[in-house]
Symmetry: C2
Subunit: 111 residues, 2 copies
DNA sequence: AAGCTATTTCGATAAATCTAGAATTAAGCC
DNA sequence: GGCTTAATTCTAGATTTATCGAAATAGCTT
């Protein structure tokens, strides 16, 4: 059984890489059905094998999910997991400071 | 100049380790003046040198700050940075999902 | 200054991560 | 079946990270 802290750490670690953070960003802003790996590759301009490796890391951490559609694989964000993670981080790390500003606005403007 | 993504990734990476996450947890919940390294050490029961290494990682990432008080060093959380990070993560990774539940409650119950 | 405590820095080793070319699998199409 | 596209897995090398004992530093206290 993996503890809460260990799981959160694994997920944060998965996010702790510029390329993976950029990948997730794309995936989050992409279509709900998921973004094809190939599109991510051409956008981010990195070798396919490297991308695949990072995608596997994100998927292993449970941050994204995969679905095949013909020959293409579509990656989409698991918002439930992302929420759980931000919630955990919030309560664990930011709550505790006494006078805190209000929580970040949930889903407003994005470019 | 380090980009926004790179900086966020560095900070997330710093959080992406069970021991460091546990450290931050203690520090956040500890006194505002900061928690002595020695107390962290006895609580977490890890070698002093290992702890020091992790503390340096957290400090380098800007998540915690240090202040000397006699022979002891007190570590305290930088809530501003933590906020900025959670905000970034929120807007970057969680906004984008269409029907989102309300944001996590800011600072309510903690055990 | 000598001694004590708190903590870091040094040094060394084991393990994990990152990267990417080459080979492989998976699926559709003629 | 054979060809093409999409993506992964294999393999390997370079770099980084994690760990921790031993040695060094910083600051009391007497």
């Amino acid at each position: 059984m993996t503890g809460r802290v260990e799981q959160a750490a694994e997920r944060l670690k998965a996010l702790g890489h510029p390329v993976r953070l950029a990948i997730l960003r794309r995936v989050v802003q992409g279509p709900e059905a998921g973004t094809p790996a190939g599109e991510l590759q051409s956008r981010l301009d990195i070798p396919a094998s490297t991308l695949s490796h990072h995608l596997a890391t994100l998927a292993d951490a449970g941050l994204v999910q995969v679905a095949r559609e013909g020959t293409t694989l579509r990656y989409r964000a698991d918002f439930g997991v992302l929420h759980a993670l931000t919630d955990y981080l919030w309560q664990d790390c930011c709550a505790g400071g006494a006078a805190e500003p209000p929580p970040p606005s949930p889903c407003c403007d994005r470019d």
